[in-house]
Symmetry: D2
């Protein structure tokens, strides 16, 4: 249960500087366009979930809304900003970078913005990465491309060294774009900043192509990724229908959460089976997946199977680990395991099969953001800049139930978002595929 304490946002100090948006938009405008400080957004809106039904509404957990404030904490003329992107690629990274730089420079008048290269490595001298000066000219067209112009890498770096770099460069605001691990890294940075008594705001824009950050609407890039994934599902369907005993097997991203598998299945209603990490499944036996698949192929001549990469990990333990072309052991590749088991099972029963295997993950994550995500990234970036200029720190900006809000970093990493096996998304998947509720 999330409490009001979990939702409290840290700030570096009181906001006493008039926002330059005032001058630009006109005094009257600023007043109107700014967030009303007293507004709060209920964390839950479903009455049975809220618990204590008799509770007055203003005692229920609520969130701080995002958006511009009339007064800000940082003086734009003296502010230096750093931006870093971490972890795997995700559509929209360049849109977020671009939105941050344009909003900071054009609307707040911040002049010095640098990008750190290749994730947290960019702070660490021994990697020898230069910082990249980010101006409106540099970023203007980067949203046409996928990837990130800053480069990225996985893994944390020593928080002390990161803060050393912030001090060395005189950074006042750090924007961190990354997932779960990246946000944990940012929390370490915040801790060191606090220990040193610095006034540096650290604001996160959560990135997860799997949509597994909790409490927020779909993460940026998710719709683009889902749309790309439908192409592989459709190609698998075309292949399956064109060959005797054709089976199209598509492995999609989703280490802990099967959102891409579910949504892309609903979008392109070609899949007969969807397997996700949240719903265990039996492989063997009369009511197991393999036999069900075999009977369907015998009935209809073909089938399409979508499997999230984190699904069925329980089946991998007992198996001989798969090997890649180089002979190296690779644990846990459920896609290749299924391919092998399907072929073996069909062979054992004398059922003809032609399995076509698709693993499109790099092709999905490297595309540019689609128009929805592009607009979404721009608005997220605007919200992040407003939060940072107002001195918020250890906070991510997010959209929850279509409102931009500030969410404390600890809450964002406290759990993962999952497909609810009892919820309407999974029910729609069951209805769309016609697969059994359980393979057991």
């Amino acid at each position: 249960m999330v409490s009001q304490e979990d939702l409290a946002v840290r700030t570096l100090g009181p906001c006493r500087i008039d926002s330059p948006l005032a001058a630009r938009l006109g005094e009257r405008q600023t007043t109107q366009h700014s967030v009303v400080e007293e507004d709060r957004i209920l964390f839950d809106d479903t009455i049975s979930m809220v618990g204590g039904r008799g509770l007055p509404i203003d005692q229920l957990p609520s969130l701080e809304p995002g958006g511009p404030r009339k007064q800000i904490y940082f003086d734009p003329a003296k502010t230096r900003v750093g931006i870093v992107t971490c972890g795997g690629l995700c559509p929209g990274l360049n849109d977020v970078i671009r939105g941050l730089v344009l909003e900071l420079s054009r609307h707040y008048g911040v002049r010095r913005i640098v990008g750190f290269r290749n994730g947290y490595r960019g702070f660490i001298p021994r990697y020898g990465e230069d910082v990249l000066d980010l101006t409106p000219e540099v970023v203007m067209d980067i949203d046409d491309e996928g990837g990130t112009i800053l480069g990225t890498s996985r893994g944390e770096q020593d928080a002390e060294e990161v803060v050393d770099a912030l001090e060395r460069l005189g950074i006042n605001i750090l924007f961190v774009i990354g997932g779960d691990g990246t946000i944990r890294g940012a929390m370490d940075v915040v801790r060191v900043i606090g220990e040193r008594g610095l006034k540096v705001a650290v604001v996160g824009i959560p990135k997860t192509i799997d949509n597994d950050i909790p409490y927020i609407d779909q993460s940026f890039g998710f719709q683009t990724a889902m749309a790309e994934a439908t192409k592989s599902i459709h190609a698998a369907s075309v292949e399956a229908r064109s060959a005797p005993g054709g089976i199209g097997l598509v492995k999609l991203m989703g280490r802990h959460s099967g959102f891409i598998a579910c949504y892309s299945t609903l979008a392109k209603d070609d899949a007969d089976y969807v397997l996700i990490p949240e719903v265990p499944f039996a492989l063997d036996g009369e009511r197991g997946f393999l036999e069900h698949l075999r009977r369907r192929v015998e009935d209809r001549g073909h089938a399409v199977v979508v499997v999230a990469e984190g699904a069925g990990q329980e089946h991998i333990q007992g198996e001989e680990p798969g090997r890649d072309a180089s002979g190296n052991i690779r644990f846990g590749d459920i896609g290749r395991l299924l391919r092998r088991l399907v072929v073996d099972h069909f062979d054992a029963h004398g059922t003809e099969t032609n399995v076509r295997y698709f693993d499109p993950s790099y092709a999905i994550r490297s595309v540019p953001a689609n128009p929805f995500d592009s607009a979404y990234c721009l608005r997220l970036a605007h919200a992040a800049v407003h939060a940072a200029m107002a001195g918020r720190t250890e906070v991510i900006v997010a959209r929850r139930r279509r409102r931009f809000v500030h969410m404390p970093m600890p809450l964002a990493v406290s759990r993962r978002n999952h497909v609810d096996p009892m919820g309407d998304l999974w029910l729609s998947v069951l209805e769309a595929t016609g697969q059994p509720v359980r393979f057991e």
Copy 2:
């Protein structure tokens, strides 16, 4: 202010038939997958908006959630269903039709589903339109195409005649897919049904490419339309940049609400000006639109202007009305008016210009739904079928703050959804274009 009374949903009677989903999913599953009847979803979640802060939460206005019920009102074996699509095209119509038919037939076991052709005309004998039998086979691939296989037309028909047709064909459930006017027509049909003491459920799936149905998240097809619109904006930008004094002028849909203009501008950051119905603008004078545009073209060499079709209607009154190729008077074409006024203004000041005019509306509305909208339409259709089978009537299904809910038809037509000139969407547009807050 919306009250609990406004949110009360009509039902034809108590639900006493076990849902066939029970048999399909297994008893235990049904229990788990069904909506908890007592759950309610708060209508508002912003505390300052909710008013009386001390009020207990269960006294605040709340909505009935959508989804399957354990018990239903209609016996699937005896149920006949009609579907009709009305008004202008919108991406996703075929997805909704398909979703309704598949859910009804596969999951509830309904056997007789017919489509009425060409909107409400399809009910009226004198138009001589046959009904179309809708089976899973007929609808299986229709989502690959834009438009509607049922055809559509504008305008209401006599509600008595519509109900005559329902009686003649023994229809128990009517699904109506259309906008504002269509929903009003459906309310008339509900009234006549009531007067005749019939037990026919009428459930709407709101369709509006302009996203102007109130109280709901984006309407289906909106993201597809917005994405298509970005292509015209980008083409206008390419044209404008390739010619001396180039101006790309794009008229987009949006009779009352400028959502497509705003979102497509944010997605493809090529526009210098966005004009929407919600924000009046002066044309003439030193701070008017025309002179601002002229100075920008002199500065940068080119500009892109996006105008929603309902913008600036106040400027059309005094003008000689435009004429179409057939010589008929057409009031209110703001796009062509702007084109003429821009050319005149630039000519008068001796500023070179090359205006390229884009009016892509048919090209936008006729495309198939993108993957997001496709999945969304499927889920809307699932929710509509669940609502109708449970005997709900005079209700639309909608997603509000990412939850599927039932909303009474009168509420859905009580006002329009608008871009809030003080809200964060319009603020982001102002920040993205850099245009002044007002032309005055």
Copy 3:
């Protein structure tokens, strides 16, 4: 009949400088990769066309092949190059510019390349256009965008002034990218160059979205344009099928030649009628177009009509000229004329109709080149650079029957390429649409 004289290519002088490709590729490679000087390509390959059947093959008209020469005329270290784009936009302009710059700089080592802005205006001082320095860095990503980074304009400029600019800037090679009129302009420039005794090569890359340059395979950008056009035809089909009496009317580019109309119709087999400039048609009467269309709509409920902008001009003379929204007379808009005549004709016969009119030309011509055209533009640019470095002048590079060749400019403007009403392309269109051979 084209004679060998028509095919003779002018050159500035003998090639005595070793191509730097030699050093780069290794001596042995250069030999192999270079064009064999003595090779010639037959102009015609159909025996009945070649005439005099007994003639020895080496007496028949033949073309000089394109490609790199072992020895070249210009010393790369001392060569200055200019590039200009003229006329309407066409997909691939930026690809050609990019290909020229990369090939010149990377492979020949030319260091000074400038772009003239906005067509031939860019040479004329009174327009005040600066030249743009073109380096590999500047052009590297321009192929991702449609349009031309140099800008363009229509119309010739005084050839003496153009050559003044060439002399002022010390230009040795001028690449001209444009259509019929642009090539004529280039021939004037060549004449003045000759009169002044300068050694400046002028090489053209023919650009025509209508594919009406004679004697060559499809012009660059044509396939991209044709593919874009199919989208409008398909949208028209969706609209037509969704409305009672629906007619989708699509005006496509093609002032003198109906290639885009024909190919896009074959590609997306949705059109019922194609009207092109090469095939006159009657409008009225029992066997005229209007009555044929009316009967088809009565039979099938809908129809799609594709009309090239230059079709049916004979019908416009006698008509009241159409008027645009500004009230200005615009002669010759066959699309709007047809729209009016169709409505009138259907009304007169009491046949219901809903005409949807599409005029996608700006949207078509501004898109980036598709992969085929992109590769084609690159290869054309390579061929153009090889030709110019070898001192060829008053020549265009072209692909004829899939071979890159040099073609004298006078031949390229001596006539237009047309759809042959007796040829297999038009026959396939007749077969695909099922329209009558003649409306008479």
Copy 4:
């Protein structure tokens, strides 16, 4: 050297039936639209290749043009037609099937057309495949989908059994859509037909996604495949640029011929290296591929490598064979071998690398034809129908230097089409990538 004998086309007998196209198009039209029987198209058009320079043109090898004849061999009212698709998927298969059926039924009035399922298996009773009746209604929209509605399989079947099926079903014309092996199979069928004294025409439409059928312009589907391949190259580039030491490695189709690798590289100029079967390369040593790649990554930080699946097979012999997920030995996977060798080489030199591997082949071959290929397939199908109705047999229809021609099957399988390592295509690739002429 191809002789006139190689180009002679077999025919079943004299054409004495008036083509029904005459009635449809009007007598005058038919005359004009038909092929002039005496016309011939020169096989070669390059003078140095033609050899004996003094030879009269009508003694040089020449081809029979495709197209409709005034008189035909088969009486449409009595003709039964069979269609079969064989081998791997290729964009455009459904377009060809559709074009054959529409032309046969609409324009010649043939009423009975059947499709054999799953390649040559469809003729063999023991597989139990029913034939599929092919009517205009069945095929009307199949071109919207990739794959083949007939299904396909690899491998020949016994020609005697195939001809048994033809006799059993009374087939007069068999259209065979497939590659090299399929055409050889068709030649066996022709032989048996001859031995039995039957009058059955066998006409092929050559299918090869690798573009390796000799003597013809690009095979159908090639441009679509090439365009799809560019997406993987670009994704590889985005991945490579976003990671430290990033290498994008893309394996493309091309068992014997590197056309897809070459054209897609030219189209999307992101690749630094292209490796094709026609150009051997050394891996090791100072001037070998691995070290060259390593130095480039050190210089620029990233690289993209495109490798055709048939490239570098000489390096696979000595290697430990790769294994697939099922543990079966799979020889010859150059992509995975390169991935391993690159990692090993970089590790040995202490150069950081992140290799992203792309193997998009199923995703490429299953897409629908693009507009160019769609129109091309339609025209090929028209030409095939004209050839068959005129009694041509053991012939393929093809486009050579942009003319539709008849080519004897034995010639079509006499060799493969290759990228010429001395030709302008490969030279443009070398210029575009900047890679060395040889790794040695």
